[in-house]
Symmetry: C6
Subunit: 84 residues, 6 copies
């Protein structure tokens, strides 16, 4: 058991489970855990606000974000056996 | 069960299932769910229209988008056991 | 069954199957389905021609394209049980 | 057994296991092992401090970092059978 | 069986199999098939020579190439059941 | 058996196996095989030295490198059944 991975101050997996009732909720979780990495990387809310203003106007950055969500969703979908 | 993943206002997985009848429909779903992440990230339709005008003229951004679709499709294809 | 994923005007998976006879044909399919995402994103043939002129002279974009093909091929190879 | 892979001076997998008690700890481990690659690539703490000041103000870099964490987490989640 | 995936003029999977004797040969195949996508995208040898001169002096592009090889290798390694 | 994949002059998988004793050694192998792709792409040691001086001062490039390592590690971890 890995005892070195002390959870940080910011909660990274809300609910502490990858299991969701539906694909829709799984997708929402994928978006959420991606955003929490942003939050734990840039902990200053004012700076995050500025960064958000940048990337939500930048097509390239939004596309990069869709890649992140796609990768997170792959993990969550597998965890839920694709809700089959 | 993850109760924290409250579905957002924008529907992220239309039909709320990854199961499709054919690869063609699975591919269309991959494109659709990628676009819905763009939509939920940039909720202003006028800004989205501007961003679309940018990326559809930008080879690098379109290629980045093909990466996103490829990753989403991998998940959907696995969910459907590759339609075998 | 996801009924929301109506196939678009442009065919995205030619032949509507991921199953191919050989790795070579699977690889060709990976390239093809990646290109069809470009086509369905930028539907104007004249603009696509211009974009192609850009990326085929740009090492960075070609490398990004090889990433896309690699991801698509992973899915197709798994679908075919690696042609074993 | 691969005897060539001599562990470097910097510990890369703290605790030397991918097994964690919870998804939260698995996520923290994903962040940690990604950061240790940065550390082992740029071993000078002063330079790392400067680089951190750059990327934590750069939306594109933070998004790229979320991709790394997503990939690492996929591995850790699979190793833990998704904590099911 | 997908009959639409007609193999192109350039051979994309030399030997038409993903099975190799060793990890070393599997790795070499990963590099090779990535390069063949470059070749089939930019069919002019003189232009390819120029592009190569660019990317082999560009750290960012070489790193992007290592991502491609890593993805291709994942597929080949799985196809060979990791040479176990 | 793929006989076309002749191993190049530079050894790509040191030890010619993906099996390692521990996650730590597996991680070190992931870093090593990524670097060997850089080496086989840019075979001139002096140029590699220059490139290294560039990317180890560039946060974006280091983050891209962490993506490569994450992908390689996913393969090595799977090959070792996650050292379970």
């Amino acid at each position: 058991m890995n005892a070195n991975a002390v959870p940080p101050a910011i909660e990274l997996i809300p609910g502490n489970t990858l299991i969701t009732k539906t694909p829709e909720e799984g997708r929402a979780l994928a978006v959420k855990i991606a955003r929490l990495i942003v939050k734990s990387t840039q902990t200053n809310p004012a700076v995050r606000e500025k960064l958000r203003a940048v990337y939500e106007q930048d097509a390239g950055m939004i596309i990069a974000l869709t890649q992140t969500v796609a990768i997170e969703f792959a993990t969550i979908a597998a965890a839920n056996n694709y809700w089959k």
